[in-house]
Every structure is written in C-alpha cells, then in structure tokens.
Amino acid sequence: MNKHKWEISPMYGLLDRSSVAAHLETMAAKGWMLEKIGTFFWKYRRIEPKALRFSVTFFSAVTPLSPEPTDAMETYRDYCAAAGWQLAAALGAVQIFFHEDSEPVPIETDPAAEYDNICQFMKKSCLAGYWTIGALSLYQILFQLWRIWTRPVETLSNGYSAIAALIWLPMALLSAAELVVYYRWKKRAKAAAESDCPLPEMRSARKLSILSLVWSGLVLLLLLFSAFQYSRGMQLLLLGMLAYMALMGLLLSSALDALRHLRTPRWVNLAVTCALTIALMVGGMAGLLALVLRNSGSGWLEERPPAETYEYHGRIWEVYDDPIPLRIEDLADTDYDRWSTEAQISVSPLLAHGVFSQRPRLGESKDLPDLDYELVILKAPFLYDLCKQDYIHWLERDNDKVPPDYRDEYRSIDPAPWGAQEVYQAFYAGEAGNRFLICWQDRIAEVDFPWKWTVTAETAAAVSAALKGAAL
C-alpha cells in the first residue's frame, strides 16, 4: 500500500478557502493527509481516516522572495499550535492548518483584521502578478490581431502565428477573472468587515482554470503539429528550446527554494534570482546562436537543402529544384533547362501560402527572364477580402508619402481571360506594370511577369490553367 500519493492540483483559487478546506477534509476522511502543496501537484501521506477540520490562512509578511521560515512566521505557527491548529503544508504566504476538534476556535476571529490580512497578502503576493500577466497577455493578443489585420497572408499561413493569439487568450482570461473576482469580493468583504460580520466566501474560477489548462494542451498540440512543416533539425531545435525553458524554470525555482531555506535576506534572493534569470537567458541565447551559426550551410536546419551550388564572381550560389505550379516554359518558348526553381510553402488550418520563383543561373544569359509569384489558397471563404486587400495595401503602402501622379495602385481589369472573379493590374506612377493580382473564388495569385513581356490573353489562360487547380 502506498504511503504517499500525488494529486493534480484541484485548481481552486487560493482565496477559495472553504473549497480547499472541504477538499482536504474529504481527503483526510479517506485516509490522506496533505503534506506538500505546489502549483501543479499536491502531495499526501497516508494516515488513519479521520474527521479533521482544515483552515487556509495567509501570513502576509511573507512574499515569494522572503526567507522561510522567518521568526515571525514561526511565532505565528506557535500561536496556531497553542490553539490546537497544526501545520499541514505551506506555500509561501499560504498556510494550511488542521485541527483534531470538530468545532475549534477559528484561526481568524476578527473580520476587520482578517480583511486587512487578506488584502495585504493579495497586494504583496498576487496582484502584481495578475496585472502583469493580464497586461502582457492582452498586449500579445492585440499585437497578433494587429498582425493579422495588417499582414493577414503572412500571419495566417504560419501555423504558429495563426494560433499565437489563442496561446495568450487563456492567460488573459484567467488573470481578468481572478482580478474581477477579487475586486468584487473585496468590495463585499469590506462592507462585511465594517459591520463586524463574517467575510463572504470567494469562489474561484475553477471551471475556467480547467478549461484554460485543456485549451493550453490543445494549443501545444497544434504547435507541435505546425512544427512538422519545419526541417528535422528545426524540430529538434524547437524541442530543445522547450526543454531548456523547462529546465530554466526548474533551476530558478530550486535556487529560490534553497535560498529561502538558507534564510538569506529578501534583497539577496531578488538579486540572485534576477542575475540567474539573466545569465540563463543570455547563456541560452548564446548557445542557440552558436548552434545555428555552426550549422548554417550544413542544410541541417534548412527546410530543404539546395539541389546544387555553383560559383559566380567568387560567391557560392544555390540552385533549387522545387516543383512549382507555373513555369516560364508554360508561358514562353525556351531551350534553357538549367533553371533554379524555388518554392517556399507555409500551411495552416486557415491558409496555404506559396512563394515561388524561377531564375536562370547567374552569368549564363542576360536575356533569360525571371518569374516570381505568390499563391494563396483560402480554406475559409471569409478570408477572401482580407487577403486581397493585403496585396493591394502592400502595393499602395507608400502612396501617402508621394504626390498623386507618382502613386502605385492596383486597377481592376477584365477578369474573363484569366477565368477569374476579379483581376487587378499594377500601375506605377500611372504606367501599367507587369504585376497582376488574380482572384479566384478560393485562391488569390500575385504574378510578376518579366518586365519586357507583353501579357496577352494566351498568357492569362496559361496562368489560369496552371494556378486555378494547383495544390499546395
């Protein structure tokens, strides 16, 4: 029979004292006494099943950086022991006691003093954290939404960027919920304390906490899924970074625990924690940079290595042989066959985005053309206008800085030859260019034809035939 048992934290808020106490009383009745509490796991030891009374209190003189136990905390515990309350477990300022009697004198008997103590505890140990996490999460969410609004194609086609806002959402919601619940409780508790009445209970946002945990797990799975589009080396690098961050958290937490038990002063704990955090971060960044630099050019970190390389004017140039949906040979007659074709494709549940190019090798002929184009496949119809406007805004991004005659713009042209819904041609300072934005129902392509070419109905038909059904 096991002497110890670990339990996943029941996710009660710290101020939900009655729920925590009730949970621990149920565990004691089943023969399990709380021995240690942590953020994620609680440890119990086996005892004879007993009807015990539990009480959660806060020793507000202690902060997460204070040495532990202080003389003051020991005195506090002595008072509790004298009243029959024995310490079960503690986590920073949170102290959990139990009593053998069924109706003991409560640890807190003066609502006004209890109210002050809880407010002090929240101010010193929790509120700054809630506000910081809430503000940081909100900033990240707004930043990601701004990126989606201003560069939707780039942002939404990348698995990580597309779900980045979702990663921060649970933290923003939880912080907001904790703050709202606390300030509402504070208002009611103040009124109760002024009337010398027992303080009201504060129920924790337990369901939201569980939902957030599940949500975070799903987002992590999505992140891992999106990492599959990277090279094996990049996947290992990402896993290594995650492991390093976990190790960093463990090291920092262990170092702080050790310092607190050595009873070093608070300012020493703060200084050592800050110095260790900076050292580990700088060390991690330096290691990452060294790893990337050491392996650059080896192809280990690249999504795909070049098919071959060649030297031109003393530099090494890469040649790719990626399959691309539209080739120069589809649009013009040519005998040249030493092209470099490059495709960079990013796929997310919302969009697939391909950036394609076809170029001759440098120095082989000055008359050979280049072809550059992008193709966006929309997996959700509501993204059509957002993505179309992305290309239009990008072309017209500097128009407010130049006189009207020098502005660049997309002008609508006849879509029939392209078999498309809408087609726009780029005009640079009033002169027609060879860049076209072609919009089909489920996809958008922006093609840069060689500037010497005349784009005909046959060219349009060939583009349509190649891109309208292309898969990414």
């Binding site: 008072y79 640890i107 807190e108 008997t109 003066d110 003093a113 002050d116 002024e194 010398d196």
Partner: protein, 106 residues
C-alpha cells in the same frame, strides 16, 4: 483597514488590550481573554498575531521580553488611552440606552 484604524476597538481588540495591562506572552493572551469572558469571546491565533503586530506598530503595546520565539507584551500609555476612550464610548452607549428605556431589559 476596513474601518478607520483603531477609531473604535472591536471586542477582540478591547480584550487583548485589557489583558495586556499585565505582561503576557502571545499565547497567554488567548487563554486570558477566554477566561476573562468566561468563554464568550475567543481570539483566534491568526487574529491575535495580526492584532499584536498592529498594536505594536501603533505604539499601543510594547515588547517587554523575548525568550526564544516567546515574546511578551505590555500595554503603553497610548494603548491605555485607547482602552479608556473605548470604555467611555461604551459607557455613553449604555447611558443612552438607560435614559431611553430606564434600564429595562427587553
């Protein structure tokens, strides 16, 4: 503070100060309050600790002896004054009640 600090004393503040007219250590205060009030008023250990700290900060009591973790306290002049003000306030309440009801029990 939920109420203006020490403008009026709660029942537990009153009895703690009253007990500390003689030198006592913290744990003894709990016992003395209970005995003095025949069990009617009990001061919880958490409340006792927080109130003793508040009284020390306000200068209502002073630390007289430290033996290991055992600390003893005694009321100061300021504490005595606060106690007397509370006593007079309670007397005023009692007098008002008596003048209106003739001291009759409800």
């Amino acid at each position: 503070m939920a109420r203006e600090k020490f403008q009026t004393l709660t029942e537990q503040m009153f009895y703690i100060l009253l007990c500390l007219r003689q030198e006592l250590c913290g744990t003894d205060v709990m016992t003395h309050v209970k005995e003095l009030t025949h069990g009617r008023v009990s001061v919880g250990p958490g409340t006792l600790y927080n109130l003793l700290e508040s009284f020390l900060q306000a200068g209502y009591i002073r630390e007289t002896k430290v033996e290991g973790r055992k600390r003893s306290y005694l009321i100061t002049q300021a504490g005595q004054q606060a106690l007397e003000e509370e006593y007079r306030r309670l007397q005023t309440l009692t007098a008002d009640y008596e003048s209106l009801t003739g001291g009759a029990h409800p």
